[in-house]
Subunit: 345 residues, 4 copies
């Protein structure tokens, strides 16, 4: 099989490096282009980026020349975008216009009406919007997005609860520092500390879930009719967002029924290379999931849930997943796998 050519936009940053790691030896995609800011363009990747992952920088990527974030310089069928949101605003449409598929991890277009915001296990049918988008915008390519890293960790466990009639969600997050990028959180800010604020995060978390868990009616997305209230906090953890979630549901299922619904959940995603065997793992241990022990499950793509117990009404539980894999680069790659499987790549 001829592999699909893939580019990474914003390839030198923290999420960009996770894209490179995730595309290494990928059975379907071949990383053919790494693009970054003018400062990096023209340099070898190994000179432009300071590699900061535990896994080694692949030798062939190290020698690749970084190009500008410009459709003319990027040779790819699909580009994965880890661009800052202001740059993404103009750059991502340009790539779609130029005929490429864009799988974006950036927030800029997530809530735009004709752009799918995808978690393959939750709303694979939302890719139906792509045709609408292309017609409306006259693009040969198209633009898809994945959610904020905090959103994905609680949306996946909510999916099997939709049948109970979700009404409200309270969510308190304890987020890893890697979510802010390499320079994002100074050590003097976070060592032995909690920062009870992450700019813009609560707004994203409170809006995205209803779109993801809503319906695509053939023309537009119809929001799921529940409310989310989030309180987002940074803690001294490297990777892995932990979230305490309360869910009230119209049918008021017991914790046992909730647990069964999660355990029985079948996303129907067979054959996607990075889809883990168990995308939603329900744990029985009293003190799990924990970021340090559980974030790498399913090669970072499993969301772990534990402590499902009664809330005020409804239930409360803990969910946790790897924020720069399942919550960022890995999410985009899984989306791209879905697109390929559905014939869109």
């Amino acid at each position: 099989m001829v592999k699909i050519k893939a580019g990474v936009l914003g390839a030198t940053g923290a999420v960009g490096q996770r894209f490179i790691e995730g595309l290494k030896n990928h059975p379907w995609f071949d990383l053919t282009s790494v693009a970054a800011s003018e400062r990096s363009a023209g340099k070898k990747y190994k000179d432009a980026a300071k590699w900061r992952l535990e896994s080694e920088l692949p030798a062939d990527i190290a020698e690749m020349t970084v190009v500008n974030v410009d459709p003319k310089e990027v040779d790819a069928d699909i580009v994965f975008s880890a661009l800052p949101s202001d740059e993404a605003k103009t750059a991502e449409p340009a790539f779609a216009q130029a005929g490429m598929a864009v799988a974006s991890n950036t927030s800029s277009y997530r809530m735009v009406a004709d752009v799918p915001l995808l978690i393959p296990e939750c709303n694979a049918d939302h890719i139906g919007m792509i045709k609408v988008q292309q017609e409306k915008r006259g693009w040969e390519g198209y633009l898809t997005t994945n959610p904020n890293c905090t959103t994905v960790m609680f949306c996946l466990p909510l999916k099997p609860l939709m049948k109970f009639g979700i009404e409200t969600v309270h969510l308190a997050s304890m987020q890893a520092v890697s979510g802010a990028g390499y320079e994002g959180v100074p050590s003097m800010a976070i060592l032995g500390n909690v920062i009870p604020y992450i700019g813009g995060e609560e707004e994203k978390v409170e809006m995205e879930a209803q779109k993801i868990l809503g319906k695509f009616d053939g023309e537009k997305f119809v929001d799921a009719p529940f409310t989310v209230s989030a309180s987002c906090h940074r803690v001294p953890v490297m990777d892995g967002h932990t979230e305490a979630v309360w869910v009230t549901m119209r049918e008021n299922p017991t914790p046992a029924e909730v647990k069964k619904a999660m355990r029985d959940f079948d996303a129907g995603l067979k054959g996607l290379p990075t889809e883990p065997e168990v995308p939603l793992a329900v744990m029985e241990e009293i003190d799990r999931p924990q970021p340090r022990l559980d974030r790498n499950k399913g090669r970072g793509m499993t969301v772990s849930v534990g402590r499902i117990r009664p809330g005020v009404t409804g239930v409360k539980f803990i969910c946790m997943g790897h924020n720069t894999v399942r919550g960022a680069a890995g999410a985009s790659i899984l989306n791209a796998e879905l697109l390929h499987k559905k014939g869109l790549l």
Copy 2:
């Protein structure tokens, strides 16, 4: 003035050390007796305890001989108890029986019907129960308690909101390791990690607030009619419990009204030596309170509140305080000051 003689039960542990620190140079109390387990009894305090606070062990306490946790060996008008809960069960009544006042930081008697669970700013009138308790039990002394360290941080900000008719409280805590005692949390468990479970904590947090914010009708306590649902988590922070709180209220006040109510709150506690000038501090900075920066406010006795904003309905906010001062030893000492002022010591 002749000082009141004070003893500390469980004097060698983490909270016991905070008691010693808090009683140093106290204008009303004179630490005359330090009691601990058989292993320590008979030794000089400096040899029995490994002092682990930044402040220095007072020289006179260092040389004091540790006695057994036995009313016959303790010469005191009031004893501060930092005993393990099983030992407290038998020891604390014995001290009350022997005519001493007991100010306990232990959980054993907090929820017992005739035992006041005190936060002086919230329910000073609950000390009326002491007379009932003495009559019922035939004690010359008496037993009072202070709440769990997580409870106090959100009860104090709830107090001025009682007039709005509190209905439900959701609470997610991010708790410091010192709350578990010196050996309580191994570093291998918590470095770069979150542990989403603290044994027995959620139950305590969910029960104590209604008693504290309830009424004393002259004979019994009548619970405040709201529900609390807690999710408790340990984070890699030394001191200071941070809590994300959602409150729904019958009168549905705006965040501005909530903030004003907290700012206007007057606990009416003048003249207690360790009562801070501002027991409940409302912060305006977008990213505060933070444990590392704010835990020592009011010498550790101030609870700081920030980010008061709309919740699903009602409001949500962040509160934070020093768990081993305001949440433990300092709480007991403030209770004792109240008891003295009210003529009970």
Copy 3:
């Protein structure tokens, strides 16, 4: 091939768990027996031990029944010992007497005259002592040891420098908390802190290197004629011991010559399953090795060296390796592989 039957003594603790992890799917060894204290004996392993590694507890081991640390109860050709040193003192000889090989990670017998203290890359020929030991003690089995976790990280880089005539070694360690076992370092002791003392560590570090890098003359070990002075410190790192080392050498080689000697170092260990391709990795990056980024190199068996530069006289450098793999369980397993290859198993 019939696999060699292996047992683990002290199987429930931190190093015991690393033994189980290291023996999983081992091509030569088959874990047939897990032994631990009376408290655990008779229980299933999964009930006796709280598994604390990121990798999952192998399902077959989970169901295995823990036996007592008694040669009669352990069915094995070789036992790997992670026993506390006082228990090891009597238990390890009993296993050797009973005809088993003992590969011990415990300190008890390391410095005993007829017991090899092995780093296969450094002193594989020291296994010649086994015959002497068996004759002297009348054992059918035998006892071998691996060094302290801090010792191995600097002995491996010293080996290729022996030809320059090592005279003195100054060593300052920054050691991970896992070296003290799961309950060894309370979080209240180490969060945001350095503890400049580790009981007994400096003495071990100062004695072991000369034995390891010394000669076996057919009858006894002759110490290498250099002096080591160590200062050992605990830092808030989970895994990975980092060491700053100064070496003075009679021939006073340049940093470039030292680097070349390390790069050219060939341990001559072909075909040992867990021997990494590069046991001693010389890094050029100015700020490496770092524990978080480099400890898992060679599946935890590579020692990384960097910053080779001039010292007062001689050179100084940084070395780092995984303390519970290369410095503990992995070291014993590599020793066992050597023993098997040399026909001693």
Copy 4:
């Protein structure tokens, strides 16, 4: 007494904030001017700087208008400089030329021949160079410096050992993140990690001690005749540099003699307001000093020494002090107090 007018250059950064904290309520100095970069000039201090210390920003400083780093805009008798080293190079001489005393914490002029590098307890007589400097340069004001934060922690304990004839010093530092400034060390770099490199640090540490502990002969400084070899490392500690030090001395004193020399050390500095009662504290506890427990001794101005024991030859010990107080702002302020006492202000 009319107070001496003091300005702070680089007032908004981490060390600048420590200067403001240290000058608050100072009996001799009155903070009259805060200067910072163009970006801040013209703003109120509270708007220009994000205050990040636990102590509160003094209310009067909060309202002060920040001026440019320009002698014409700064009204002061002495300026404390926390400027970046490249800016300091031109700015500091300009202030000296304009008639002000400059007490600089910056590295730019430390090793310049006619500039005193002061630790008052070590080389108060080096201020004799000021007159030489003024004559040579034609300045009305003058320029003094304090050492690198790592240098001061080991120079103070070396001072009483000079009489034994110091020959060589090996030093491994474990440095706090605050030494790099607020944005200096990203949390992703240091959480659970050690970085075995700090740019330029080892060079500074290896040069400064000989100047400080050398002699002033009336015209020039004569270096003390010993060699220092340093290995500098960053650890996840907020404040407090810990150092492992080996010292060889011609007279080869015992650890007991070394300890006695340190205990008997009298710096002869009576009456300086921030000089602690014990500038050099010798600790007996086996595991001290520790940064979290000991850094605030003497209000951050005490250097603590422990574990004095035999080295290869000579002795080894641990020393530790607060890097942004004794190692930065507090050092400059103590220098200024010395200058005032000696009639130079």
